[in-house]
Subunit: 328 residues, 2 copies
Amino acid sequence: MARTEIADIGKQAALDRLFEGSGFTNEPTIGLRQSGGCCTAQKLLLEGCDFDLVYTPIKHLGYKAVLCVLGEIYASLRQPAALSVNLGLSKRFCFEDVAALWEGMLAACREHGVKQVGLDMGPSVNGLAIALSACGTQKKSVIGKLPATKNMDLICLSGHVGAAYMGLHVLEREKVAFTGTGEQPDLAPYKAVLASYLSPEIKPGTVSRFVEADVLPSRGYFLTRGLGEAILRLVRDTGLGAKIYLEKIPISSQTFAMAEEIGMDVVTAAMNGGDDYKFVFTLPIEKHDVIRKDFQDFEVIGHMAQPDVGAVLVTPEGAELPIHAQGY
Amino acid sequence: MARTEIADIGKQAALDRLFEGSGFTNEPTIGLRQSGGCCTAQKLLLEGCDFDLVYTPIKHLGYKAVLCVLGEIYASLRQPAALSVNLGLSKRFCFEDVAALWEGMLAACREHGVKQVGLDMGPSVNGLAIALSACGTQKKSVIGKLPATKNMDLICLSGHVGAAYMGLHVLEREKVAFTGTGEQPDLAPYKAVLASYLSPEIKPGTVSRFVEADVLPSRGYFLTRGLGEAILRLVRDTGLGAKIYLEKIPISSQTFAMAEEIGMDVVTAAMNGGDDYKFVFTLPIEKHDVIRKDFQDFEVIGHMAQPDVGAVLVTPEGAELPIHAQGY
């Protein structure tokens, strides 16, 4: 495959090529002139800690990295409008690598209506570093109408959890096996969990559907570090308690099967796995009927509670287990 | 000195401690509800490429890193309002290191009226990675009134250039000497150039003074990669030409002396040195008299020209040299 060194063509020429025919212009500072509230979220992804290019196609990585920061914008009940990306590139990376990464990034931008993008790059001693910030906007009338989080608010989850963690587990396992034997692994049986990890998706209508239905969440959280961590943040941010019902947490059949195969507790995968790219929204209990009818893809997994309850997981037998977050 | 591992106290507890008594709360997404235009700038600083902790005190690094991104906000003619920081930390870094870094960051925030801050951290395989994004705001009435850049607009520079590069040169030289002999270098003679590199400053009134005097620049650039690179961006962004007069570029006497000492062309240091943390603003020529009277700290170093002129440096003898940017 062709390999063009960025140092040979120059940074500016490389940036120009990446924007050529993309329909975007490169804006070093992204400015919004909306009259409503704007909001900025930021992520820093580092090779070796946040991703592994041995099993992650670089284009998929670009797509996923953008979703990772747009998810925070949706969780804040804004619509993504602008994205700024800064890359740190070691000498291992050539122009073609960056072009593939950027292709994935632009695909996510197009899908989610991001109108302004900015890209810059610089050298890195080791590996690839990706810093992203995204801006979102929302009408003042919506932001002003967001309800306060109250005791008994419903806690809703936008899809099943734990699958991405299982996908990562398979990839790590096969990486070790491959390094040992050189045999190409057969990954077909694990297609669904692998897709959850490598190609997560976010529905572009995540926020607008709430606005259109006039069912406004009081809070939103984007799940990248596990459901448990999000519930702990929710409790922390609101000063209230939260009860999550174990049997209500949606877990896919393949996640169950994988957990059995590797002898792992499926609840741990679901609560602490991470990389789910799903949302938790809290919604007023008065909207219960509308949610059941028009938001069937959301699962009501629990409800807010008095502060002294803390963050608990209620088992089918009625036992209340305190929710813990996983390490650093 | 005390050394507390972040893994021992946990990330959340570490973040809590860093905000304790700071007067700030940690906001994961920074939201602005201003009615004017908001603007976001982003920087990614990587150890070994963008900074060297052998000679940079970590608290100074924090202060300087924040200025690095706030400078872009001022250059866009906004007032800094919010800052979000993401750190990647290898095991070398303990809580006390992060606390010193954060102390420098908060000092810069206080000085520049940043009201909302967010901090997050995660692991890094190698060294320290610092991602920063800042949001700035400006009244709609100001943004709407910014003039277009025209031929003959004045190009103004906010201070002398080249000194920071000389400071970096001294530090790199003494690092090599120290590694060789173990002798502590005498840096007293280089105090001014060292301060330019290690402790740059930005005046908090950088933008507001223009607004108050009703002398609005058509464009602004923050100098981190050399004056030459900024002039090239200016020409690129406007589609016009630019003439810079060599004898008008302010260079400090210590920069001259250092250039002589190391046998380096002082013009190269001034044009391509980098890390100046100064501003280039273009201002309508009609404002010439006001600028000379009320903006005496600005030096008029040149003017915009017809597109076919390109970006040129005019020597005292009248020769026109094309301006080049330095590498990747």
